[in-house]
Symmetry: C2
Subunit: 106 residues, 2 copies
């Protein structure tokens, strides 16, 4: 898998990634990548992000074991957002919910 | 539909919204809302965004007619991202593609 040369990272060097369960289409989470974490994701087949609050790399599931196996990576017409289709091991959310989007407007 | 009081907008007053076709689960686009465009979305049942490049409101489909009827709005565990499930009229992408995510890493 090759990283397109025309991807656009923002002023902080980041690009948002929407993460979707590849079989069910469920949207699991949104996180941010920089060029290096995207490279690591492509190379390892597991998702690596950049934490804006902690200013460090993190691999999804590195502590919990709930890793994401990358199945497909798409990008949008503006080349500034990624859509990563994954096979999620266990719940995606740190709360134990299957997806981070577990609350709705009432 | 009520806007949760604990939603977090970023330093520019924006929150990203992942837009998903409610029936198929297809991710159509990602755009940004501010408090006012979110309010307008909730009130009208159609999606309104804030354009970062043009610094103005825009209603999806206001020119093309390809509007998005809001079916459900969810938010994530960090309260800083929206997931909007819509019924999309016509293609979502200005290129004429059904979704903005029509290109993949080769």
């Amino acid at each position: 898998m090759k990283i397109p040369v025309d991807l656009k990272f923002d002023d902080n060097g980041l690009i948002p990634a929407v993460v979707q369960e590849w079989k069910t289409g469920e949207v699991l989470m949104v996180a941010y990548m920089n060029q290096a974490s995207l490279k690591r994701t492509v190379e390892t087949g597991l998702t690596w992000y950049w934490s804006r609050s902690r200013q460090k790399f993190w691999q999804k599931g590195e502590m919990s074991g709930n890793v994401q196996h990358v199945k497909d990576i798409l990008y949008d017409c503006d080349q500034d957002t990624l859509l990563i289709k994954v096979e999620q091991t266990g719940p995606a959310c740190h709360t134990g919910e299957r997806t981070c989007f577990f609350r709705r407007f009432s």
